[in-house]
């Protein structure tokens, strides 16, 4: 039986149920890398140029972690998953970066997915995967169609407030009793849900009695509301979600009490999107904080900032007056940078 390694990184947080079903139905054994840890982070940091963003470094780490354990590592080249929008230049170049990084790398299973040029690219991607794995046409098509439904199955769980990890693996968290407030944590899924890159932000908020909402827990129609009125359609799928959710929250008061954007140092998409969202939040005096993390970040800095942010939001709702929503908090979240 062919074993395929799936790195617990990048778009795993969106497409894992689909990938898993597809690969298992094709008769492969799927091996998932462990949650990001210090060792994986270090492996990745050593294998990449310094300029690459932390999520890509982490992804390299996961690929290397899987290297000796599997026949192939699944690193699809995801160019685009919808018309007129892309994923991100670095993810588009990821398989090539892995292949030519100068490290000893495992065999990759990396079909091209580019829906910006129509659905035919799926056929090409499937045939590529099929040839690599030595499968025939019909089982491949069958596995593909069955896998399409998988993501809908976890949707319900996501909407109920579970993170993708919890939704995929059927774990749940227990609400801490006490003061209830709700904060939106927005960012690329591979930052928000990665235990190291997010510096356990969601855990930390929940422990402090805060309910967390992310863009993945929001139905598409609400995100579309947020995106209405943009002067130009966004051409990044991931940013559409972040900005759409953010603008929706800003436009719909009382849905959440504050917004935290978590991004990586050097992320090109977020350098524009977080700023755009911040400007909108500021105009409506909506509590907003931007945390920028990278592979060097310490948890200490985040703890301080998050606590201060919660206090600020609490203070605002208690007084319900015009306290500035943008103290010195959002401007330079230094050591997390």
């Amino acid at each position: 039986m062919v074993t395929i390694g799936v790195p617990r990184a990048l778009l795993y947080y969106i497409y894992f149920p689909m990938w898993q079903r597809f690969l298992t139905d094709l008769g492969c054994k799927v091996v998932l890398s462990p949650p990001t840890n210090e060792r994986i982070l270090n492996l990745g940091t050593q294998a990449t140029v310094d300029e690459v963003c932390a999520p890509v470094k982490v992804a390299f780490g996961h690929v290397l972690d899987l290297a000796d354990k599997v026949d192939y590592v699944f690193v699809p080249r995801l160019v685009s998953v919808e018309p007129r929008a892309y994923i991100c230049p670095k993810l588009m170049g990821l398989p090539d970066m892995v292949k030519h990084s100068g490290n000893k790398m495992p065999e990759l299973l990396s079909p091209d997915v580019d829906l910006s040029r129509g659905k035919m690219s799926i056929a090409r991607a499937l045939s590529e995967a099929r040839h690599t794995l030595g499968k025939s046409v019909w089982p491949t098509l069958r596995a593909f169609y069955l896998s399409l439904g998988e993501n809908h199955k976890v949707e319900q769980r996501l909407m109920s407030g579970l993170t993708p990890e919890e939704a995929f693996h059927g774990t749940a968290w227990r609400r801490t009793p006490g003061v209830r407030m709700k904060v939106a944590v927005l960012g690329h899924p591979y930052n928000v849900y990665d235990p190291v890159l997010s510096m356990s932000l969601i855990e930390q908020l929940r422990r402090s009695g805060v309910d967390v909402v992310t863009a993945e827990m929001l139905p598409q129609h609400k995100i579309d509301v947020g995106l209405q009125g943009l002067s130009k359609e966004l051409f990044w799928t991931l940013s559409k979600k972040v900005l759409g959710a953010g603008l929706y929250f800003v436009k719909t008061p009382r849905e959440v009490d504050g917004i935290i954007v978590l991004s990586s140092f050097g992320c090109g998409l977020e350098s524009l999107i977080a700023d755009l969202l911040e400007r909108n939040a500021r105009r409506s005096e909506f509590p907003f904080m931007h945390l920028i993390g990278d592979e060097h970040s310490g948890e200490a800095g985040v703890v301080t900032r998050v606590e201060a942010f919660i206090d600020m939001v609490k203070g605002r709702s208690e007084h319900a007056s015009n306290i500035s929503s943008h103290g010195n908090l959002q401007h330079r979240p230094t050591s997390t940078t």
Binding site: T45, D50, T334, S335
Partner: protein, 322 residues
């Protein structure tokens, strides 16, 4: 017989170093002076002090300059050769440690790595934009901890379990350090963590993908720090050699480069130490470029220009390099 002496001057943003060597390449004297934003004074001071370290009857047969202030130094002393610091460092190290394959250099404001093969530079890199892998980072943290920079290295060696200091930049590392202090880590553990952080930043930023091969030579002002040296040895798993004149290798390289010049030296003599040196910025209005041209005069006589883009003023070639 008069002894022949070569001078090498390395003008950096933090320090100005001067070295004198004799015909067989032996070092006669070295100087390490703070530039303190006044390179002209530092160069003159260096010339004055070095003259006391060489034989009275010595004849200066060649002068080389290097470092970011190499043009200025060349104009003042009348240098025979003006070279960038990568080439200068490589030249010096190869003479001191023949067969060197890797040079790690950490100075005040920059850090570099030079890869050599068969005595030839085959690759090099310098720090990109941040200063987290340089000496000023260490200086700053030492002063924040209230430890003299000279004792930092020894203190690091006493550490039992070095703390992990997070942070890409000096500013961020600082806030993490404050946190670690408050949590109660010992100073020596923090200092050792600091050394490891600097080495980690250096290896991840400057030395990334450079194939570090033994013999490895570590030089520059920071090489004085035994803690950093040990952190390098641990991170690389290779012995790291620190040459005798580690802090003035650039200037020494300039000396050796000057040896290769066969013509009569253009050295202006030790009197320049007391000469009236003036560097004035002139805004040239000759064309739309509006270049800031530096006009350099010695005792009231204009001897050099640089900074022009069009070449109207002699195109930086005030000092014949060959």
């Amino acid at each position: 017989m008069q002894s022949k002496v070569y001078l090498g001057i390395d003008v950096g943003s933090v320090s100005t170093n001067v070295v004198a060597s004799n015909a067989s390449g032996e070092v006669l004297g070295t100087l390490y002076l703070k530039t303190q934003g006044q390179p002209i004074l530092a160069i003159q001071q260096g010339i004055k002090e070095i003259s006391a370290l060489i034989p009275q009857d010595a004849e200066i047969v060649g002068v080389g300059t290097t470092g970011s202030g190499r043009m200025l130094a060349a104009a003042i002393v009348g240098a025979d050769v003006v070279k960038n610091e990568i080439t200068a460092h490589a030249t010096a190290t190869l003479r001191c440690v023949p067969g060197t394959r890797t040079i790690l250099e950490i100075g005040g404001q920059d850090s570099k790595i030079i890869i050599l093969n068969h005595g030839v530079v085959t690759d090099f890199a310098m720090n990109t934009v941040c200063a987290a892998g340089t000496g000023s980072f260490l200086d700053r943290q030492a002063s924040r901890l209230g430890i003299p920079i000279e004792e930092l290295g020894q203190l690091a060696l006493n550490a039992k379990t070095p703390t992990r200091i997070a942070g890409r930049c000096a500013v961020f590392a600082e806030s993490d350090m404050v946190h670690k202090q408050q949590v109660g880590h010992s100073t020596s553990d923090i200092v050792a963590g600091l050394c490891e952080a600097l080495v980690r930043n250096y290896l991840n930023n400057v030395a990334k993908g450079k194939g570090i091969v033994s013999p490895v030579v570590f030089q520059g002002g920071v090489a004085a720090n035994v803690g950093i040296r040990r952190a390098f040895e641990e991170a690389l798993g290779l012995p790291v050699h620190v040459p005798e004149h580690y802090s003035v290798m650039g200037a020494l390289g300039a000396c050796y480069l000057a040896e290769q010049i066969k013509t009569v030296s253009t050295f202006r003599g030790f009197d320049v130490a007391d000469a009236d040196c003036q560097a004035t910025g002139v805004s040239c209005t000759g064309c739309g470029n509006n270049c800031e041209v530096v006009q350099f005069s010695l005792n009231g006589e204009i001897v050099a220009f640089w900074g022009d883009r069009c070449g109207k003023y002699g195109h930086n070639r005030v000092v014949a390099s060959n």
